[in-house]
């Protein structure tokens, strides 16, 4: 597993950061990309990899993946072509102490698989009461601060948290959902929830929180990223803010690009997501936002064991396993909406990398050699056995998807082959 000189031949190089999509060779040495299309002088490869028929793209960058038992999830990440991922702070215990962050970074580094970028807790214990030590957490490796799914009910504290983060130039991520309006809700407050007798989460739970977050971000000048938008109306507010010159960014989960409230069917707990799957109109708006570049796409990977899902719908834990589905679901979206591969892959490579502010997501000479090689035509069935993640929780279980990762490189080292 030493840093070899790798020559990746005949692949279809897709680098969204540079609008590149052509058959070309890639040359890697000293953990970096040293040549695109053309070998540098005096280059002799230790290993040559034939990538004919494969797409060679930057390793995927995932804005949100929960790691549970760390090793299997990092193995799932690289099996899904994900080479960099941000981990939200709602670990047990939450990432509100520098020591915990350092330990997470150390533990993930020992596996030398995907690179892990912790997101620190905005408030102590994520309780929304007292600010966390953001400066210390940043020094320990946190690249942004968030509350994960926990609210800050007190808007004064939210204002203070943004002011404090802005003091040091830290990015703040908020999952916009008003705690009172969401209440005990477990599904979109629409036809399906009403029919099944599930408590609904109205769209205004999102729009009210987006409005508050945007207003306070404008006041404080903090770098704001809104996580997991779920509704057309919420997305419209973000678009409006951007049109008014705000630099706010946002993301949607890959599952939300494909599913709607109808996928709950007869209480399928695998379709219990947070935020909830909403209407088909909402889903279309999320797709449109991702297409125009307003939103990036993340996995929102949340592995949950059977015990957490084999419960009545409202009692089941929310979330999906998605690290290994991020690429196929992005490709499926691209195919269905007839989008160029460079555009679709930008939403899971260079765009999230720029939001995280990390050196990743591009295939330029000099950049880190985090690379994903996948067969865009290979079809495979999503089964409990085909997923490396400990979580098998996805409505796509049993379905066939297209696009299979063949090889993943992190820092110029082959960390996954299939």
């Amino acid at each position: 597993m030493s840093a070899k000189k790798l020559h990746i031949r005949n692949g279809r190089l897709v680098d969204p950061a540079h609008g590149l999509d052509r058959i070309a060779d890639l040359f890697i040495a000293d953990r970096r990309i040293v040549g695109v299309g053309q070998a540098p002088a005096d280059y002799s490869a230790d290993q040559s990899i034939d990538a004919a028929g494969l797409v060679v793209c930057p390793g995927l960058v995932d804005l949100s993946a929960r790691l549970g038992g760390i090793e299997p999830e990092l193995a799932a990440a690289v099996a899904g072509g994900v080479t960099s991922l941000a981990c939200p702070p709602d670990t047990k215990p939450p990432l509100d102490e520098p020591g915990l962050v350092e330990r997470l970074v150390r533990r993930s580094e020992t596996h030398a698989l995907a690179r892990v970028f912790p997101v620190g807790a905005l408030t102590q214990e994520l309780a929304g009461q007292k600010l966390a030590e953001m400066h210390g957490l940043s020094n320990a490796g946190c690249i942004a601060f968030s509350q994960a799914r926990r609210p800050i009910v007190n808007t004064m504290l939210l204002l203070r948290a943004m002011q404090y983060a802005a003091t040091f130039g830290y990015a703040v991520r908020l999952r916009p959902q008003d705690d009172f309006l969401a209440g005990e809700g477990v599904a979109h407050d629409g036809e399906v929830a009403s029919r099944l007798g599930l408590t609904g989460i109205p769209v205004c739970a999102e729009t009210v929180a987006v409005g508050t977050a945007l207003e306070l971000a404008a006041q404080t000048g903090v770098r704001l990223h809104l996580s997991r938008l779920s509704s057309a109306a919420g997305m419209a507010l973000v678009r409006q803010a951007r049109d008014n010159g705000m630099s706010v960014t946002c993301d949607v989960s890959a599952h939300h690009l494909h599913l709607s409230e109808a996928d709950i069917g007869y209480f399928d707990t695998n379709a219990r997501l947070d935020p909830p799957l909403r209407s088909l109109t909402d889903r279309q708006a999320l797709r449109a936002a991702a297409q125009e570049g307003l939103a990036v796409v993340c996995s929102d990977h949340t592995p949950i064991d059977a015990d957490g899902k084999q419960l009545p719908f409202a009692e089941a834990l929310p979330g999906v396993t998605a690290l290994e589905l991020l690429l196929p679901l992005t490709l499926l979206w691209a195919a269905q909406d007839e989008l160029p591969l460079t555009l679709a892959l930008a939403r899971v490579t260079c765009d999230p990398a720029s939001i995280l502010g990390i050196d990743a997501g591009a295939l330029r000479v000099g950049s880190r050699a985090d690379v994903c090689l996948f067969d865009p035509a290979e079809r495979w069935q999503v089964t409990a056995a085909s997923l490396r993640s400990q979580g098998k929780n996805t409505p796509f279980l049993g379905r066939e998807v297209q696009g299979r990762v063949r090889m993943t490189l992190v820092d110029g080292r082959v960390v996954f082959t299939a």
Binding site: R195, L196, Y266, F267, D307
Partner: protein, 319 residues
Amino acid sequence: MHNPQLNANGELTHLLSIEGLPREVIVHILDTASSFLKVSAREVKKVPLLRGKSVFNLFFENSTRTRTTFEIAAKRLSADVINLDVTRSSTAKGETLLDTVDNLVAMHADMFVVRHAASGAPHLIADHLRRLQRSDVHVVNAGDGRHAHPTQGLLDMYTIRHYKRDFSQLVVAIVGDILHSRVARSDIHALTTLGVAEVRAVGPQTLLPACVESMGVRVFNDLRLGLRDCDVVIMLRLQNERMSGTLLPSAREYFRCYGLTPAMLELAKPEAIVMHPGPMNRGVEIDSDVADGPQAVILPQVTYGIAVRMAVMSIIAGN
């Protein structure tokens, strides 16, 4: 999508919800109930259809009345009935719902009658039995959360059919807390499947679910308008904890706006019947003069309920 309550031959194997039940299945249950009604009126109130079968009443939520009617129905079919008060036993010790079910299946249960506070709990059990390939074990939903109370829906249909014969010309008003009511949902599905002329959902906006029109009802916020020219009025129970606070200011104001008084009832057709799933809150959703009046069919509902539950259990066990 695969209908979880029908087997491969399209026969009823569980009763989980009225939604998705073909019209013929509903009519078959009502016809079967009609024959059982005579059994209950006999000197010897038993038929041997479920002899040797074990019916487990699995009530995760207290309801002495519903449990009793299921118990009577099963006993009149000659089944052995085991009542489990699960609220006080296994779950209190941390056992999951499906662990409880597995244990009872190991005791050779043939049928579960399930009441649970969470919507979808009976579906979860039925799905679990399907994965275990135990098509010989049946589930009857006796009320799950706000989702469904199919036997109540069926006994309501039996009552309406008894008094009105033909469904096609009927205007039915369902009045009150529709948001939290599994009875309302089951009645709406049954009425629309049986093809009534109009189903009305009557209540304040705080007690109506989102997009309720998508279930095929006409919404009325004003009780007077909602009752006009109705053939059937179904009053819903208002739970004590919802009477004052965030959804309604007070029981008194609720009665003033939505209580069924003799004067209000005059807006409906003269021969209109008044139903209530019980237990009633007299003076909150219904005036005693109406509840005890000539148009009320609330006690016949209870009688028919036993025949309908016998019909459901015998049909399911036969499939």
